[in-house]
Amino acid sequence: MAREYRTIEEVTGPLMLVRGVENVKFDELGEIELEDGRLRHCRVLEIEGTDALVQLFESSIGLNIERSTVRFLGHGLELGVSPDLLGRIFDGMGRPKDGGLDIIPEAMRDINGTPINPAARDYPNEFIQTGVSAIDGLNTLVRGQKLPIFSGAGLPHAQLAAQIARQSGVLNSEEDFAVVFAAMGITFEEADFFINDFRRTGAIDRSVMFINLADDPAIERIATPRMALTAAEYLAFDLDMHVLVLMTDITYYAEALREVSAARKEVPGRRGYPGYLYTDLASIYERAGRIKNRRGSITFVPILTMPDDDKTHPIPDLTGYITEGQVILSRDLHRRGIQPPIDVLPSLSRLKDKGIGEGKTRADHADTMNQLFAAYSRGKDARDLQIILGEEALIELDLIYAGFSVAFEESYVSQGFDANRSIEETLSIGWKLLSMLPANELKRVHQEYIDQYYEDTPEEVDG
């Protein structure tokens, strides 16, 4: 029986100081028993001599420092794993939330995980068809990638995430797929949207959900993503499944981290976030990937809402430095009814180059992708000019580009949240659009592909 302490000295915000402890370790999990027998959880943040500074996961309401007792459990925070995780819904600390029975674990796993040896990693290069042109064609997702969605308040990131989960072959494939979903600090409605969408498509049987809602304890959110990733690692690397991890919303997670850091009076980095935010986020994101000689994989699509749509805010900024690209949603496109409102120019998939081309998608994929980007970018510049100076000030070629960029948004990007386009469809829409331009403008495309796919149109430009 672990020793019990009645020596709580102080409680401030999410922190609590326990004096006179013995044999307590850094990062150890503790249980606090309140007067009425209710249990709260905490973990050791710092241990100095016989003083343990601990962080509470739940609220401190009703905690009496005289009459509450603390026990340290001799291990860190753990998740019990077993194949029965599938189809279940848990709270942010990994307790069943669906009214079902407790899981009988096959093993207990420390939720912090251990870093993957870079020499053991296998490079992600298998194309995942999400059925979304702006992703498949231009910012291709590959198995084992971490590709976040940068969104803003009020933008349809949930619909896009659900669409990706639905169309990425979760259901109709022979291979073992699973979805792990973690909600941190989102509203009941948003969580309910995901649960219903998974129910509607039957994906729920292949899902594990960890739900921490906006009114659940904020500090619990520090554990939630790690719970989810521990479950994902088990499914991927013990049970050989291809796991898609959806996580929303990283912003609330970072805020919980900031709360603890502020309570510890640490020197803040930018905007009050702790200096170790990068390292902390990396310890979550880097758990995605593939490992040599293992069949399973973890593909990770976290969602974060950029405060005030600001991409340079520390949370999207640091995330962008760790993840392998980003999908950025645009308020402007959303207002104009483009669905999904993916702003393809600042979006990026770093791993796309090894996941596309002959044998994966199609040989001309890389060239058309580069050309579409370049042409769309030029077209947008031309449209900006057109707004300021009027149509007359543009030379003919720029007018063609402007028209191209509008058509690109309306037919390539905009497809609705239910359309599931094959990669062939996406590529042929791309070639239709490129055929609006004179063939000699296609400098990024090898001649052989122009000969094969370019559709001659009567609209030749007259210099």
Partner: protein, 590 residues
């Protein structure tokens, strides 16, 4: 004398452990923490209390556990077996650890950096009775097809060789015996140790004059880095820092490449590990991995080891420089290293400087970059050996904002600045090096070298091209105000020629088999052709030729496709197209 001292933990806070009873330990001694024997380094002493930064995860440590000093500072092993290896921040061999411990890095895992069982062929170049001093090469080991590993006398030693043998040896076997002038008999093995925080000595530094050819057009032609120079690549995420670093690691004209992945993505290291064995060195045709050493401390690995990784990498690089090689070192990213410094500083409760970074950030960064350079290597008076260490660091400023302390401190030191621009990246113009804001302070020094060897008008052509780009940005301002139609034909020609310069020369596709590397000869010819079109079209316009007709000339498509012409066809292709260009433009009616 046993310098080991044993204390016990009093405090654990993340990667920082404080131990008492450490009075006998020295600053920066390596310690072993707890029975798990986690590696740490003493970074502060207060009386008998030592603050230790621990290079591994500290969960599960508590007061009372042991802390034992090893009595030596953090050092690396130098010898045959480094090339082709992948090591973590404290030089543990990651590929060996996979075999020993599995897919994940377990705590306290240990394996010697250099394989102890592998046998190497040692061929002496000195003989018994020779007088040698520190830095002298006593023999060689063919480490890979690309690399002759030169075994040197450790710096600080000098004396008479008593014994030296040829044959097959393991790294720990004695290959020679030295009668040292001060310490008497010293056995020399294939292995040396050197503390990472101290730069390896050299005789003197030389001012760099030769360019480091990288095969990247915007770099070699416009913003070259010198052999032994320093360069920084700052840019926001997604602007292509890592791709540039990878391209340099692949194609830079160096004998040895040390690539430090410092706090970056695990998959990027995997990419290098899987791709480099497949890629062939353009000079020798052997796989690039046979000249590459990787230091991988990815972002999820312990933060303190990230701090050490930069020093581990540059010490290994210096070792090869001392052999007389040209070594290129890429560090991606120094910002993550600085963050590790900040995290430790915060835990030590030091007074923060800007943005929470410690006040000594600038001097630490300067200390790192100053270890680069072209040097006369340490060796006996009868020999002359030149070694080169070029250092190229990526910087990841928050939000791409260059007022960030790490970016600012770096820019004060480095001589070359490749400014990556997110707007160019959005347009998929790669490498996204902004030609208006980047600079190279080596340019004037390198110009004469390049004019002598490639073409006498190289620097003039480049200057014209730069002027054209400058004029383009001014003209674009005007276009934004009054539209392109308002421009004269001459100005429109400038815009079109600048566009051709951007798209047909500066844009380089690193994923295309041919475009990924451009020899300096081809660079010059590509640039010449673009500029020749501009000069000749100007003449045609002066003869009042029709602007639209000039724009429709078939040669323009050929100019655009030059980048895909294989190296061996370049010279012929260039001469033909030059003639064609002159004929087409000359043939236009006036």
């Amino acid at each position: 004398m046993d310098r080991r001292s044993q204390g016990e933990i009093v405090k654990v806070s993340g990667p920082l452990v404080v131990a008492k009873g450490m009075r006998d330990a020295d600053m920066f001694d390596v310690v072993e923490v707890s029975e798990k024997r986690l590696i740490g380094e003493i970074i502060e002493m207060h009386g008998d209390e030592a603050s230790v930064q621990v290079y591994e995860e500290t969960a599960g440590l508590g007061p009372g556990e042991s802390v034992v000093s090893r009595g030596t500072p953090l050092s690396v092993e130098l010898g045959p077996g480094l090339i082709g290896g992948i090591f973590d921040g404290i030089q543990r061999p990651l590929d060996i650890l996979v075999d020993m411990e599995g897919d994940r890095i377990t705590r306290g895992a240990f394996a010697p950096a250099l394989n102890r069982d592998k046998v190497w062929e040692f061929k002496p170049v000195k003989k018994e009775g020779d007088r040698v001093t520190g830095g002298d090469i006593i023999g060689t080991v063919p480490e890979t097809e690309l690399m002759e590993h030169r075994i040197m006398v450790a710096p600080g030693r000098s004396g008479i060789l008593k014994e030296i043998k040829a044959g097959s040896f393991k790294v720990t076997d004695v290959v020679a015996v030295l009668e040292d002038d001060r310490s008497g008999r010293v056995e020399i093995t294939l292995i040396q140790r050197w503390p990472v925080r101290i730069g390896r000595p050299y005789r003197e530094k030389i001012s760099p004059v030769e360019p480091l050819i990288t095969g990247q057009r915007p770099i070699d032609t416009f913003f070259p880095v010198a052999q032994g120079g320093t360069a920084a690549v700052p840019g926001p995420f997604g602007s292509g820092k890592t791709v540039i670093q990878h391209q340099l690691a692949k194609w830079a004209q160096a004998d040895v490449v040390v690539y430090i992945g410092c706090g970056e993505r695990g998959n990027e290291m995997t990419d290098v590990l899987m791709e480099f064995p497949q890629l062939k060195d353009p000079k020798s045709g052997y796989p690039l991995m046979k000249r590459t050493i990787l230091i991988a401390n990815t972002s999820d690995m312990p933060v303190a080891a990230r701090e050490a990784s930069i020093y581990t990498g540059i010490t290994i690089a210096e070792y090869f420089r001392d052999m007389g090689y040209s070594v290129s070192l890429m560090a991606d990213s120094t910002s993550r290293w600085a963050e590790a410094l900040r995290e430790m500083s915060g835990r030590l409760e030091e007074m923060p400087g800007e943005e929470g970074y410690p006040a000594y950030l600038g001097s630490r960064l300067a200390g790192f970059y100053e270890r680069a350079g072209m040097v006369h290597c340490l060796c006996g008076d009868d020999e002359e050996r030149v070694g080169v260490l070029t250092a190229i660091g990526a910087v990841s400023p928050p939000g791409g904002d260059l007022s960030d302390p790490v970016a600012q401190s770096t820019l004060r030191i480095v001589q070359v600045f490749w400014s990556l621009d997110s707007n160019l990246a959005y347009k998929r113009h790669f490498p996204a090096i902004n030609w208006l804001t980047s600079y190279s302070l080596y340019q004037t020094k390198i110009d004469s070298w390049i004019n002598d060897r490639i073409a006498p008008d190289f620097s003039r052509t480049r200057l014209d091209a730069m002027t054209l780009l400058q004029e383009e940005s001014e003209l674009e301002e005007i276009v934004r105000l009054i539209g392109q139609d308002a421009l004269s034909d001459m100005d429109r020609l400038k815009l079109e020629s600048a566009r051709s310069l951007r798209e047909d020369f500066l844009h380089q596709n690193s994923f295309d088999d041919i475009d990924t590397y451009t020899s300096i000869n081809k660079q010059y010819k590509m640039l010449s052709l673009v500029m020749l079109f501009y000069y000749e079209a100007q003449k045609a316009l002066a003869r009042s030729a029709d602007f639209a007709a000039i724009m429709k000339l078939p040669i323009r498509a050929d100019v655009a496709r030059f980048k895909y012409v294989p190296e061996q066809e370049v010279d012929r292709w260039f001469e033909q197209r030059k003639e064609q260009l002159l004929a087409e433009l000359g043939g236009l009616a006036g």
